[in-house]
Structures are given as C-alpha cells and as structure tokens.
C-alpha cells in the first residue's frame, strides 16, 4: 500500500500537488518530458487538479471515503488509505437493531459503512487503482455518476448517504476538476464490497 507524505505548509502542498499531477500526466503519456509545449499544456491541468483538491477538501469527500482510525487524539483519517473507501479487510458483522427512538442510520467506526432502510452501503474507492478504484473511469463517467445518481453513470442507483443532490450543484468544470485531482492521488488497492440488501422484517 502506498503512503502519502503530508505536506507541512500550503505552499508545500501546492508544490506536491503539481509534482503529482505532472507525474500522473507523464505516466498517462499526456506529456512529453522536457517539451516546452508540453509544459505549457500541463499548466491548465495542474490548475484544474489544484481546484479539484480544494473542492474535495471542502465538500466533505474525505469524511466517508477516507477510513477513520483511532489516533492519539481520537478518530482521525487514515491517510495511508486516503479516499480508498471502505477497507476490504473490515468485514462487517450483521447490522445491530436500532434502539427505540427516532434513529435511522448506523455507521461503522471507520465511517465507511452505513446501514439504513436501504440496506448497507460502503464508501467507494476513489483512488486511480486500475482494478479496484476509478482507474478505468473517464471524466465523463465521473460526471455522469453525479449527474444521474447512478453507479458508473448508468447502473444501479448510488445509495445513501452519498449526497448526490448536493453534489449535483457542482458545475461540469467543478466535477472535471475533482476528477483531475483524483487522478493524481496515490492508487490504493482495495476492493470495496458490494452493497447489502435491507434486512427482511
């Protein structure tokens, strides 16, 4: 599993992001190394990824898609698993019965598994891992998923608590920026389980 060094300052974070974006683009064959033209073409994409990073950080994506762990000061994001969704190894036991009262949802300690009237849903792996993440996804697939509220932009409905109606307020440019940023983060191999049906009554 890849770990992510945490930049200590905003400037360092920005520089790290530019390097990551450039590396991702080079790996994808988008840039020709050393080419001035390529470096010129790189700038808008780097800016787009930086914008995407800002949106991811402010729109709460990490809250569900990065597993929580208990640190010295209580629950904190496990940045070695940044945005990789519900940990594959964490097999959830049967959903406990809700207590009396107006309770609706139970979440795992990682805040990546959620039980409610829809069954059990698991936060998706948003890293660019080719087998278990968004590796094969295009920007269009990502945009369509948010626009339609359907898995992969065309399949089953995306389940709660993913706030599709909220994220549908993003512009296409916003969504493309988020996608561009997600291509730059470290791939984490983690096959998120399929959702479970509601418990029959």
């Amino acid at each position: 599993m890849t770990t992510t060094p945490r930049p200590s300052t905003p400037a360092a974070a920005s520089a790290a992001l530019r390097r990551a974006a450039a590396a991702a683009l080079a790996a994808a064959g988008v840039l020709a190394a050393g080419s001035a033209a390529a470096q010129g073409a790189q700038a808008p994409t780097v800016e787009k990824a930086a914008r995407g990073k800002y949106l991811v950080a402010t729109a709460g994506c990490m809250d569900c898609h990065t597993p929580m762990k208990v640190g010295a000061n209580g629950p904190e994001w496990d940045m070695a698993r940044m945005l990789s969704g519900h940990p594959e190894h964490l097999v959830m036991p049967p959903v406990p019965a809700l207590p009396d009262g107006p309770w609706l949802v139970i979440s795992s300690a990682t805040n990546t598994a959620f039980a409610g009237p829809w069954g059990v849903s698991f936060a998706a792996n948003l890293t660019p891992d080719p087998d278990t993440g968004l590796g094969p996804w295009s920007a269009r697939d990502f945009r369509q998923t948010i626009r339609t509220g359907r898995h992969m932009g065309r399949g089953r409905g995306v389940l709660p608590p993913m706030p599709i109606p909220v994220y549908n307020n993003f512009t296409d440019e916003d969504l493309d920026a988020i996608y561009a940023y997600l291509r730059t983060i470290p791939p984490v191999r983690n096959r998120v389980p399929e959702p479970r049906a509601p418990r029959s009554k």
């Binding site: 594959e88 065309r154 096959r191 389980p193 479970r196 049906a197």
Partner: protein, 252 residues
C-alpha cells in the same frame, strides 16, 4: 481439438445462420409502420454521416424491445443485428415478409457509407459452435451497448461487442474478457475472488448470476429490464456448461 472457427469466409453461401437479435429486432422494426417517421423525428437514422471503414452503425436513438415487453431493451443496432443471416438458435429465426435488414436499410437510404463487402456477404458472429455463435450474438445484441471498447463504454474491463470488420479477432477479444477473467463484481457478502465466466459452471459465473438476478444491486442490464429473459439465460447457460474449454482451477 476445437472445431475451426466458422466465419463469413468459411461458410456455405446457402447457410442460414448468424447473428444475434436480428430476427426479433428486425421483427420489431417490421411491426412498426411509423418507424421511418419516428426515426426522422428522433434525428436518426443518420444519412450522410461518415462511418468508420469496415464498421457501420445504425442507431435509431430510441429503445426497441425484442418481444414487445420491457423484458429486454435493445438500445440501438450495429451491423450484426441487421444482418440478413439468421441464427436458427434464436427466437423468431425465420424471416418474415417486410423484415428490415442491412440491405433494405441501405437501399432506403437510411444508412450510407456501408462497405460493399457487408452487403455482398452478410456479417455473422465468428464461433466454434452454433451455440457459441448464438450466445455471443445474444450478448452482443443485449449488452454491447455498454460493454464495448469505445469511448462511451462502461468503465469495466468487459467487452461483449463483436465487430464485423474482424469477426475472429473480436470473438477472441470478447472471450479474453469473459472466460476465467477476474470479475470486479462479487456477490454481496462474498469476499471470494470471482470470475466472469467459469467454463462448465454457470452458477460460479458472475455473468450468468447478474443476468439471472433482478435485485437492483446486482442485475444486468441495470435498467430497462424487470424480468430475466428465460430464453437468453438458457442459451448462455448451455454455452457455459457445454461449449467452453475447461477453465483453470481457481486459486484459493
């Protein structure tokens, strides 16, 4: 030794075979007297639209149903679905007067730029057995709208699209993503590795499981289908059980 691939250059001219949903889909077209008007209103077909060499696509832009119900939605046609060849293993394989096929579509001017070879020699699915041809044709007709290698594909490593440009190569490409291929999807609650198709074992094949399911979390196709197609399931089951070389043992 498996039998040789049977493709257009090898078959007897009189053989009535091939393809996919041509009988049912063309039947639906023939039954729709207002089709040309509706197609025009929908902005299709696409007269004058350039076609890539060797690959002609006819896209009506609105769904047709193989049997008049919402059981199976066919979201557009490729050349194979409109081939005048008929596969005797599919439903309504016998041509009916007025059926629409590749030739008649071209004659009416609904489709231009069609390579002459496709009119001279009706396209068909390459396969080692008639059952394989029917099964691959069924999957092409019902699933390749999303499971292909084009820009608008679903983002998974599964293609079920057969190409008329190179039937043998496309058949091989389809089988590579099917047989013994790791499945991204696993049954809910299962942590075991899964394969898309396991030769001889349809119940262990996620392709068959998802075609069979009508649980919204698992079913294929995910939309436009409220009941599985028993004839399609039987065909694919027969193909997996009896017409594939044994799959390697699954690793624990």
């Amino acid at each position: 030794m498996p039998p040789p691939l049977d493709h257009p250059t090898r078959r007897a001219p009189a053989a009535i075979t091939a393809l996919v949903l041509a009988a049912t889909a063309a039947g639906a077209l023939a039954a729709d007297a207002e089709l040309p008007t509706r197609l025009s209103a929908a902005g299709a077909p696409m007269p004058g639209r350039p076609l890539p060499a060797g690959v002609a696509t006819f896209t009506p832009q609105y769904p047709l149903w193989s049997d008049g119900s919402a059981r199976a939605a066919v979201l557009g046609f490729a050349a194979l679905q409109l081939s005048p060849d008929r596969d005797p293993l599919i439903t309504r394989a016998t041509p009916r007067p007025g059926d629409v096929d590749l030739r008649s579509v071209a004659q009416r001017g609904w489709l231009r730029g069609l390579p002459a070879a496709l009119l001279a020699d009706a396209p068909r699915v390459a396969a080692t057995t008639p059952v394989e041809r029917a099964a691959l044709g069924y999957l092409h007709g019902n699933c390749a709208h999303c499971h292909n290698t084009g820009d608008d594909r679903a983002p998974v490593r599964l293609t079920l699209a057969m190409s008329v440009a190179d039937p043998v190569a496309s058949r091989d490409a389809v089988l590579r993503t099917l047989v013994d291929a790791a499945s991204r999807w696993r049954a809910s609650g299962s942590s075991a590795d899964a394969r898309v198709v396991v030769a001889g074992r349809p119940d262990d094949s996620t392709l068959f499981a998802r075609m069979h399911s009508r649980d919204a979390r698992a079913q294929m196709p995910p939309l436009g289908s409220d009941a599985p197609d028993p004839e399609g399931l039987a065909l694919v089951q027969r193909w997996i059980e009896h017409h594939l070389a044994p799959t390697k043992e699954l690793q624990p």
